[in-house]
Symmetry: C2
Subunit: 209 residues, 2 copies
């Protein structure tokens, strides 16, 4: 392979960081281990990432976050219903989780649970990622009003992140399948009623024309 | 306060570990920080926990896990419906998360996302905790068959864990409220559909109860 096609030190460092964040979160991702895993020369780290670990983690999370909207396009392909697309999303997540040895979660989720007060910038990256994910899901959902589309999109992201947590503990992808069944059931049941109405602090299904 | 009523070094070390796990997960919980935070004499650590950090983390997670069934009794009090109990569970989780400065997640969840291959014993503790939580939720759910009760119980645990992830990133408890709305909607919609199904054989409901 010609040298120009090989991943650069910069991209190798980011890939190693993303992988380590998925495996063991923020505190479990040590700079020395990232460098060793990437195979990049140690000197390249502060050359490419002068702000050190925080910069490396921020950029790796941003790369990780961008995968989700691209993934959605694969499932919401315009041919299947939203329910079928969500079913495929959760069952594929289960299979992929198992294919990767049940050892890799979501980098954003793992970091979010490790945040300390001094990680304000990283917290903003995580928040932005979940926000972007909900925003890319919402327009694909078959509810007539934007507020319900947005609310259900957040519930889907919550279900995916929660499934990663239980799946890591279980050592298999079953929590994705279980969560996916209820996401599809909730979608089917509530769209057949057409509307979720805001009532005081909680929303409950009601009969809509 | 008489000396006999003061928490022992052992319990202070466990409380400090539980708090640190909730804040920043497994790798973020250093032995030295635990000892400093607990105020316990350094010598007491290996006296009470001869197997070191792994024993401390295992026991702190077991204590954390036991809180959930007790919490459920508060909400499923025999007076309110399952839907009302779940609504109260999620809205209280949101308020409590915010009251604690939006900085404390679920210790089990934070550890589950930090696990490395060598943490097999800790993984089992996490898995057992989620399993016990689903088992304590299932009998309280109004589905006629055990498999559906169990499945929805897992979905509720997934929703709570996912809400912790998004709430840590957002810095507020809103993801709990959002997830709770959909858990209640899914429960109401699927249980009312079952009632209608039993009445009218196989038609989808077009009206709410």
């Amino acid at each position: 392979m010609p040298a120009t096609n090989r991943p650069t030190s910069r991209s190798r460092l980011l890939t190693a960081t993303e992988d380590m964040l998925r495996e063991s979160g923020m505190a479990g991702t040590g700079i020395k281990d990232v460098v060793a895993r990437s195979g990049a020369p140690i000197g390249s780290l502060y050359h490419h990432f002068p702000r050190g670990k925080m910069q490396l983690v921020s950029e790796a999370l941003a790369i990780h976050a961008e995968r989700f909207p691209r993934l959605l396009e694969r499932f919401f392909d315009g041919k299947r219903s939203a329910a079928a697309a969500l079913d495929a999303l959760f069952t594929t997540a289960a299979a992929e989780f198992e294919r990767q040895g049940a050892a890799k979660g979501c980098a954003i989720g793992a970091v979010a649970l490790d945040l300390v007060a001094s990680d304000a910038d990283i917290r903003r990256v995580c928040h932005q990622a979940f926000d972007d994910w909900a925003a890319s899901l919402a327009p694909r959902l078959p509810f007539p009003d934007a507020a319900t589309r947005r609310s259900f999109a957040v519930a889907i992201v919550v279900a995916l992140e929660g499934a990663f947590v239980l799946a890591r503990a279980a050592g298999d992808g079953e929590p994705f399948r279980e969560a996916g069944r209820w996401i599809v059931a909730a979608l089917s049941a509530t769209t057949s009623r057409r509307r979720i109405k805001r009532r005081r602090s909680s929303r409950k299904p009601t009969t809509a024309p």
